[in-house]
Amino acid sequence: MRVLVIVKANKESEAGALPDKQLVDEMQKFNDELSRNGVMLAADGLHPSSKGKRVRFAGSKPTVIDGPFAETKELIAGYWIWQVKSVEEAVEWIKRAPFAKALGQPVPDDKVPEIEIRPIFEQDEFDRALAAQQAKVASKR
């Protein structure tokens, strides 16, 4: 299975500050480790939301909203795509990420690293789910 591993934004990432050199080096090591184990499929960091746009589809036409967006905790600073056997494997991997350094440290709440792991729908899984839903709708008629 594939998982999307989402790194949540914080005040610093939203301010456009790059992580310090040490963290970058450690992250590089971690990424190498992921590659060496055949886990890494893709990884990217994102510009702060001030460079982003939102498009809302309400009313008669789409509305474009310029960033930055307020609710920092809901924003994304970067992501990986991993190939793993289970969500548990992904959890094991993320525990080995440099974020673990924050443990036991007095880190302010808005800087606590938070990572979200979400399984990606496989295409045939999606097809099956869709077919099941259609069958359900048909049986109700």
Binding site: S35, R36, N37, G38, L41, A42, I81, Q83, V84, K85, S86, E88, E89, V91, E92, W93, E122, Q123, D124, D127, A131
Partner: protein
């Protein structure tokens, strides 16, 4: 933590640490079979203890520590035995003195140990079946049960295969090392062959058995990606990985929802996996930078890349594909490759050009009974307007294939020649 939660967590840790642990232990004790037993014992200990104690903070180190204790006991027992025999006493004493440094040394060498493990698991002294089973067991992080289900054979069969393979390695005194010199090429070919075999077992799966066998594709890809990191200077390793990435990119487009096969040129290219295509093209570029002339895997990847780069079937660069098949025939001649070259030729230069090559293959003993030969010939004859001959070929092809769905498709083609549609 419930038992099943603990079990899943242990499995996840094992997936990450299992192969490294086995490889490091094999280096320590110099014996893959003993290393596998030690690693499995550590796994059993984790399954027993973690549900009560919780997952240790450094689960990998825990497993290694547990296994190492047993390994050192084993080494000491051996040592005592050998001392009794008054052999190599001093040498083993030195070995014992060095024990505390082992862990650090093993950490540094884990990549090299993994590479050795791959070479040993794919050793030519083993049958192909045994190489596949042993590779999946030692490096794949699949349980015997999973390997059995993927191969559609009973679990005891696989267990037996693994036991026998380990015994064979021991009897042949296969050293735990990366082969050097002239040996390296042939041994690397065997590793690549095993990985590609695993991939194709998964790729050849039909609907129904689909999901479990696709695991084999994922495993092969994983092994290939790992190997590419361990042996980054070998162009054919990157060639193979690129080939698998590109083929896997079409997995979800190559069958209909009901499981019927969809031919490459008829596939919905929007369903191709563009992340895998990108990775495949990148891997191919690495192979091209490293190698002066492309090997068989890189050439096949280049052919797959031609298809991947074409946005529509009509945009396919058949002349380039023909040239690549010409090169492939040079480095890895086989009648099946010739047949594929014939198809490419017909697409690039017209059915006549392809038919000429196909006719030259008709007497080929290894293609007797191969349904794709009459199938391709029928197609070329049809395009040349030789309808009756084409129909006979489609019917022959239908009678030769073992795949029920394929037979239907071929019969349908034979029928459609009558109506001219």
């Amino acid at each position: 933590m419930t038992d099943s939660e603990a079990r899943r967590a242990v499995e996840a840790v094992w997936r990450i640490e299992g192969a490294r642990l086995t490889a490091s232990l094999a280096r320590l004790v110099g014996d893959v079979s003993v290393a596998d037993d030690l690693a499995q014992d550590a796994l059993v200990a984790a399954l027993e203890q973690w549900p009560g104690s919780g997952i240790p903070e450094k689960p990998g180190a825990w497993l290694m520590g547990t296994a190492k204790h047993h390994a050192i006991d084993l080494l000491r027992r051996r040592q005592r035995l050998e001392r009794k025999q008054a052999q190599l006493g001093r040498q083993l004493e030195i070995e014992q003195e060095n024990v505390p440094d082992l862990e650090a040394a093993m950490d540094d060498q884990v990549g090299d140990s993994l590479l050795r493990l791959m070479f040993v698991a794919c050793h030519p002294v083993l049958s192909r079946e045994a190489r596949v089973a042993l590779t999946l067991r030692l490096l794949g992080g699949l349980t015997t049960d999973e390997i059995a289900r993927a191969h559609l054979v009973p679990e005891p069969t696989v267990a037996q295969r693994i036991v026998r393979a380990k015994r064979t390695l021991g009897e042949a005194h296969v050293p735990f090392e990366v082969p050097a010199g002239a040996d390296l090429g042939a041994r690397l070919s065997s590793v690549l062959e095993v990985i590609y075999l695993i991939f194709n077992e998964g790729y050849a799966a039909t609907a129904g058995e689909h999901w479990i066998r696709l695991d084999l594709c994922q495993e092969a890809l994983r092994l290939g990606r790992i190997l590419a990191e361990l042996a980054p200077h070998e162009p054919e390793v990157h060639g193979l990985v690129a080939l698998m990435e590109l083929q896997a990119s079409r997995l979800r487009a190559r069958t209909t929802a009901s499981g019927d096969p969809v031919l490459l040129l008829d596939q919905d290219r929007g369903r191709w996996d563009h992340l895998l295509i990108q990775r495949g093209l990148h891997g191919l570029a690495r192979a091209e930078t490293l190698g002066q002339t492309l090997g068989p895997y890189a050439l096949q990847a280049s052919i797959a890349a031609c298809h991947a780069r074409a946005r529509t079937a009509q945009e396919t660069d058949w002349k380039q594909i023909t040239a690549l098949y010409d090169a492939l025939v040079e480095v890895a001649p086989s009648p099946v490759v010739e047949l594929n070259r014939a198809v490419a030729l017909s697409m690039a230069y017209g059915p006549d050009a392809g038919l000429e090559v196909v006719e030259s293959l008709l007497g080929e003993p290894s293609l007797r009974g191969y349904h794709l030969l009459p199938s391709v010939r029928g197609d070329l004859l049809f395009r040349l307007g030789r309808i009756d001959e084409a129909r006979a070929e489609f019917e022959r092809a239908a009678s030769l294939t073992k795949n029920v769905r394929e037979r239907e498709v071929l019969r349908e083609r034979a029928r459609s020649t009558r109506t001219g549609s």
